[in-house]
Amino acid sequence: MTLTREAIVEHLKNIVGKERVITDEQVLKENSHDRYKKFETIFGVYSTPIPAAVVKLADTNQVSDVLKFLNENKINSVAKTGGTATEGGLETIVENSVVLDGSQMNQIIKIDETNMLATAQCGVNLGELEDRLREQGFTTGHSPQSKPLAHMGGLVATRSIGQFSTLYGAIEDMVIGLEAVFPNGEITRIKNVPRRSCGPDIRHVIIGNEGALCYITEVTVKIYRYFPENNEFLAWALDDMSLGFEVLREVMVEGYRPSVARLYDAEDGVQHSFDQFAPDKCVLMFMAEGNEHMARATAQGIAEIVEKHEECRKIDSRLIENWFNHLNWGPEKIAEERELIRKNFHIGFTTEVSGNWDCINTIYENAIKRIREEYPHIEDLTMLGGHSSHSYQTGTNLYFVYDYDVKDCKPEEEINKYHIALNALIVEETLKAGGSMVHHHGIGKYRTSWTKQEHGSAYYILKGLKDQFDPNGIMNTGTIYPVE
């Protein structure tokens, strides 16, 4: 028998204590969405079903007890920590869902200088962990723009990536061990070892599961020595993205690992004020870091490669350093953005994809061309561009950026008229060219129409995980897996 909303709340109070079960209407509304629906929610419209409760979890045992109860009663759960998700993963699309908020599980458990490991509960803010590490001369190497707000659990759950990924890797390269709870209440721990050959790497069942398979309660990541004094910035202006991708590829294939390797098209550059020093040009930039010898050699090697291309014009590196140092999004920037949206009915979003070197420029050109030619509300767009910000030996990512004036529609209609439609054109062009439809935000709830196409025959494996670990389908319904 399905439990009523009131009964769900009562049971939850019995499990974790009444002070940990929040039913305040405004809090519930704020927990029904993430940044995907930022437009309508700024105007006070909440079109997603409001959850039955938000549970402030205290420890792993509580996570286990609550999940067991939800599983037995087939009640949908949405895992949440920092709440910075951008792809609808935190939307409570099922009536009477329960939001499992791990933000109070916020203890840094251990910093192990010998084995170069840091262990933190899921609700530890990355910025705080990073500050603690830096005091001791270390870094996680993970620095997404959301660092001031994001928590460790969410970062791992979405397979996030940071601005220094080209050197340090993405979160999946950093995670050594984990603790996670499955819907039947089973608590699992994956031990911290440097490497092993003991069957498939089961960390990857948990990393990137977006709350659709299990709840991450604890994370252990690698740490690195921190040498900010050796950072070197380099930048050049160039005519087109095609050349930029070519140079990026040369740098990566030659074996250099700058922490930052970015390529902006002219349009995207304008919103970062790059047109003030490189009007109508693309901008290619790098940051070399690490110990003194590595940083210097990396910077020199990259400069040699880029300067072989006469079309590239050197830019004052201080411009890039100053810009880069102000790139993160903290609470004040979120507040400023909300105010801008409210006053000007103007909003911006991104869609991030990836592709091998042989198709990345095709993805870039085709997606931009298709939007310009086919999108029916192109007149409302104020910006359409993109950049690459994470490169690999085999390819790179592309961040499409689009801003628009919201015209002639209700706040709740904005998402279909603009965001979903633009997102779809980019995803379709990416898959058509052989790329991946999501690089680092997670599938969330708005790219699930293409999950099967993305994985092809390997969807069999992905589906098997859901069938095995969440047979009752109570884990973040509609995320990663399409609602059949």
């Binding site: 004020s273 201080r318 350093e321 810009w323 000007n344 103007h346 004036d405």
Partner: protein
């Protein structure tokens, strides 16, 4: 109705750290590596005037908007941006770039007022102060030279029933003053909550603006020779940084109650009894 909006482009001071504030022998701080932005009060003036011009679209004397800046070239991108969002004319007044105009609002006001007279403008809107010199005088000086009424700390302006009047809302001594004023006039914008940010042009508007021409004038074009640009009423003697005088003390006590008691006894009691 001809409306002139004056603006200044400044370095984004939020992106300067304490260590960046080092000046050379001419008292200039190197800000060449920091992006430039609209001075915040001027940005309000620009957006407020755009909104006013939209209200005046269907009247017998529709608005003709001109954006004006005094600088040596860095403002061109911003002038193009303004043409894209709807300004009809974009004017840059350039002077000898060796001159230090940061603390010379008198010269700036002469340049502006001469242009206003020359072009027969009816309304001048500008921000109350710029980040570089923080003089806060240009608007008043422009009004004086034109002999026009001047309203300071304006927060909004809309059209009035009478075609030669505007309704102006401003702050005065903590209150909001609403007036209907006859043109011509100078409006000095303060913190406008209605229009804090300039709108963003669409892709099409940006493309169209690229084809439009900017008007570049020199001080000579406005009848002021180089001698007249010199700062004769004051000389910059020195600049020095203020050292922040902050200190920190930890409150004793095991509980929040004990700590609050400590805060009261040591720091608040004496102050509150004054």
């Amino acid at each position: 109705m001809k409306i002139a909006v004056c603006f200044k482009i400044i370095a984004d001071y939020d992106r300067l750290s304490h260590k960046d504030w080092e000046w050379d022998e001419r008292h200039f701080v190197d800000m060449s590596f920091v992006r430039r932005v609209f001075n915040c009060f001027d940005e309000s003036a620009l957006e407020t005037s755009l909104k006013l011009s939209r209200q005046l679209e269907n009247v017998s004397d529709p608005a003709e908007l001109t954006a004006i800046t005094v600088d040596d070239g860095q403002g061109d991108l911003f002038l193009k941006h303004l043409m894209a969002v709807g300004y009809d004319h974009a004017v840059r007044i350039c002077c000898n770039n060796r001159l230090d105009l940061r603390f010379n609002p008198l010269v700036i006001s002469h340049l502006i007022s001469r242009y206003i007279k020359q072009e027969g403008q009816k309304l001048v809107v500008l921000g109350m102060q710029g980040g570089e010199g923080d003089n806060g005088q240009t608007g008043f000086l422009v009004a004086e030279q034109l002999g026009w009424p001047c309203i300071r700390e304006v927060i909004d302006v809309v059209m009035a029933e009478s075609p030669d009047c505007l309704k102006v809302k401003s702050r005065i001594d903590g209150a909001i003053l609403k007036q209907t004023i006859k043109l011509p006039m100078v409006l000095i914008m303060g913190h406008s909550l209605n229009s804090p940010y300039l709108r963003v042009p669409t892709l099409k508007q940006k493309l169209n603006a690229k084809k439009k021409q900017l008007t570049i004038l020199s001080n000579i074009d406005l009848g002021l020779d180089n001698e007249a640009l010199l700062n004769k009423d004051k000389t910059l003697m020195d600049l020095h940084g203020q050292k922040p005088g902050k200190s920190c003390a930890f409150l004793e006590g095991k509980t929040a109650q004990e700590q609050a008691q400590c805060l009261y006894d040591r720091y608040l009691k004496e102050r509150l009894s004054l």
